[in-house]
Symmetry: none
Amino acid sequence: MNDQSLKTKTPVRIAIVEDDPTYVDVLRQVLARDNDLEVERTFLNSVEFLAAVPRLEVELIFLDIRMPKISGLECLPEIRQFLPDARVIMLTLHDDDDYVLRSFLAGADGYLLKDSAPRKILEAAQYCLAGGAPMSPSVARKVIEQLDQLKPGSHETDTRDRELEIKRLLSVREFEVLQHLADGKTYGEIAALLHVSVDTIKTHIRHIYDKLKVRNRTEAVSRMLR
Amino acid sequence: MNDQSLKTKTPVRIAIVEDDPTYVDVLRQVLARDNDLEVERTFLNSVEFLAAVPRLEVELIFLDIRMPKISGLECLPEIRQFLPDARVIMLTLHDDDDYVLRSFLAGADGYLLKDSAPRKILEAAQYCLAGGAPMSPSVARKVIEQLDQLKPGSHETDTRDRELEIKRLLSVREFEVLQHLADGKTYGEIAALLHVSVDTIKTHIRHIYDKLKVRNRTEAVSRMLR
DNA sequence: ATGTCCATCACCCTAAAGGGTGATTTTGAA
DNA sequence: TTCAAAATCACCCTTTAGGGTGATGGACAT
């Protein structure tokens, strides 16, 4: 008579994955107002979270999208693998990023702006647990705007087109360096090939990373080639 | 000096297209509470509405989805042709039909359940005019559920072949690691994603290098992608 | 049963990468 | 002419990558 009869009284277990400790506290306090909700674990970075996921037992997860190293978006497949029935609400500062649609495609259940009123946060949790997909009208707008990009076969961007696009972003010298990067050359090798110092190459590469918004050579090369 | 300066004080003109006269009245009364909104025209069937559309001047349209003869869905292209900037909120009795996604693809801006509270109706109008896409969490859920059906994923055949060739050379685990490598992930990040130790990943990667006859990750990725 | 992958983990060490800051010269566009 | 990139170089520091070697348990085939 215990499991069933107690079930309605068992609070919903919650995990928070958010690299801003301040906002973690905000969420904690807001969620504490609802006695049916209990924040069981919090993680300040995605790596810690991923390590714990296989043994995690929660029904609801608040997941920050933008985090260092591994984004919330990349955590979603892992969550779906180990916690297929858990609800996931994505946290974001702005609604103007292009993560919105991809989050939902990856299995998110809701979308919450970090500056939402406490009431909205609690509503989001409740709607989500009730099977809805809470999101602000502005987020919903992003979704339906990005909808069109999905249906036509417009993503057949040729490799040459990508190269041209990157060529526009980079200076000629930088593009030259990038091509050597794609061959797996080291700083020193590229420096030798271009008859300049290693530090010059390092500077070029830093600029390439800035312009392409990547963190390392592999991402840069991947960006150009696929 | 009139059009521009008066614009902020001019009420938003609204059209209602709804075959249930009772609900038209409900809408009328609710919308009348907001002095910035003015119901200019109402249509009890879609044929009348379509006839009037070319000469219609409204900023917001409440459009019933299920109507005899011509559905609201079928009206959307016409609206978009003559009133490209007007906002359209779809009206529906249930959120369980498959019109939801199709409505948004056809250019709807919001989705309102007919049993919504008056406050929700006014909110929907306001959100919509502010550029958002109001919809209930249950409707949003429908949208994201139907998302998957939209994405038919056809990649490039060239890349496929290369991938298959490399897949034959590597073990499944190694290939898995290689894919993360191509995303620019570090040892630690891949380890976290695959729930194994960093040393294990290092070993896999060394094996990958051996098998592909490359000396670093960039060459490996480049090998797979081009 | 024996050998061979496969997947896992550990420890050691060196080389390379990457982030921050700052500086100089050239060059082209406004 | 003046301002803004672009291209060059330097020094500091931390993190990551990569090479070598070795070990264990499981799966699978001969």
